[in-house]
């Protein structure tokens, strides 16, 4: 079972929810926020294996190239330009689709893997922890996210997504069984939450909401959930204890009361997931 944790707005507590849920429930943790993965700060796993992630990019054999420019014409990403002095390749723009190799009439293009980042596989006590890390200056996160998701097995898994609702989030939540949307009771939180809700609805992923830094009973998120008939899974209070634990790089589940809360939350997610699969 795959549970995605996303938010719309950044800094609402995706990693707090994901890491604590994983720890409380013994679920596998995967950090798909590959531009700035931070779950390992809290889970502190021992890294067992590191793998490089590559995308296939064209290598042009200038001896064979006849400057027909077919590769540059087919490229949908403007990664190739045909000039009088030969084909120019812009590696950062290449999505690794392979179209140039296919259209080359003289077989002058060979594909070679270009490293864009890495995957760390580790263990933190009872749970396995995996994270992707995109190299600085690299623009494309989805190839790493797709590699990360190949490592997911049958075990329950929490997928910590990046903020927003862009390609990276789409790649991370694709094929998941349930989505947890973490938000905060502010106008910005609500605004971006609505975009995230639209995304999971479009992708037909059942979902529920967690409010972080909740300080009043009937805040704007609670009202929104009631109006839209969205399942409110839980609330993490605006509590000094949370801030202190977090600032020390500690998990909230180190506190007994919070551990119970996250266990409860985990059971609730399993429950709604089970109900959804009956529909």
């Amino acid at each position: 079972m795959k549970i995605a944790v996303l938010s719309g707005k950044g800094g609402t507590g995706k990693t707090t929810v994901s890491t604590n849920l994983a720890k409380a429930m013994g679920w596998q943790y995967i950090d798909c926020d590959v531009e700035e993965p931070n779950g390992f700060i809290f889970l502190n796993p021992k890294i067992i294996e590191t793998r490089e992630v590559t995308i296939p990019v064209p290598i042009i054999d200038e001896e064979k190239c006849i400057n027909c420019n077919k590769c540059a014409q087919i490229c949908q990403f403007n990664a190739l330009a045909g000039t009088n002095t030969g084909i120019i390749f812009f590696e950062k723009l290449c999505h690794g689709c392979g179209a140039c190799t296919l259209v080359c009439p003289v077989d002058a293009i060979k594909e070679e893997g270009r490293v864009i980042g890495k995957i760390d596989i580790g263990k933190s006590e009872n749970i396995s922890c995996i994270r992707g890390l995109l190299d600085v200056g690299e623009p494309m996160a989805p190839p790493i996210i797709k590699e990360l998701k190949k490592l997911i097995d049958e075990k329950p898994t929490v997928i910590d997504c990046s903020p927003g609702s862009s390609c990276s989030v789409v790649a991370a939540i694709e094929g998941t069984d349930y989505a947890v949307l973490v938000t905060e009771p502010t106008e910005f939180g609500l605004h971006d939450l609505k975009i995230a809700v639209e995304l999971v609805k479009t992708m037909k992923i059942p979902f529920g909401i967690i409010i972080n830094r909740a300080d009043e009973e009937n805040d704007l998120i609670v009202r929104y959930c009631k109006e839209e008939e969205i399942n409110l899974l839980g609330r993490i209070p605006f509590d000094r204890k949370v801030a202190v634990l977090y600032s020390n790089g500690k998990l909230l589940v180190e506190d007994k009361a919070y551990r119970k809360e996250f266990e409860e939350l985990g059971r609730k997610i399993l429950g709604v997931k089970a109900c959804n699969s009956l529909l």
């Binding site: 403007n78 330009a81 000039t83």
Partner: protein
């Protein structure tokens, strides 16, 4: 020889655009026929690599000289790869810019400006 000027509109009195990759039009002046041609820039609608798409278009038009405000690093690589000479101008109408070039009053543009400077530019 064909001279290409990045332009805000498709007429010879239009103003030069300081951007290359995402300028709306290219004004191309042919010194042999003294005729103008105006083309929509393919880079405008590019999701990425606007300067490269624009550069490719200019190469395909068999242009010899490009006059603009500044060029991004990728556009510069493509244009120079196509053996196109690049010049910079402060501004003015297309006609004025071409006259300045023909009088030899424009400076060569040899170093690239920052990438993505034309993004969001209208």
């Amino acid at each position: 020889m064909k001279i290409c000027v990045s332009s805000l509109n498709k007429e010879k009195n239009a103003k030069m655009d300081q951007h290359f990759g995402r300028c709306p039009y290219f004004s191309i002046f042919d010194t042999e026929t003294n005729a103008f041609e105006f083309l929509e820039n393919a880079g405008v609608t590019a999701n990425q690599g606007a300067g490269i798409a624009a550069g490719q278009q200019v190469i395909d038009e068999k242009v010899g000289v490009v006059i603009t405000g500044s060029l991004g690093p990728n556009a510069m690589r493509v244009l120079h790869g196509g053996n196109i000479e690049t010049y910079t101008c402060q501004g003015g109408s297309i006609e004025e810019v071409i006259n300045l070039f023909q009088e030899g009053k424009l400076e060569r543009l040899e170093s690239a400006g920052p990438a993505h400077s034309g993004m969001g530019h209208k």
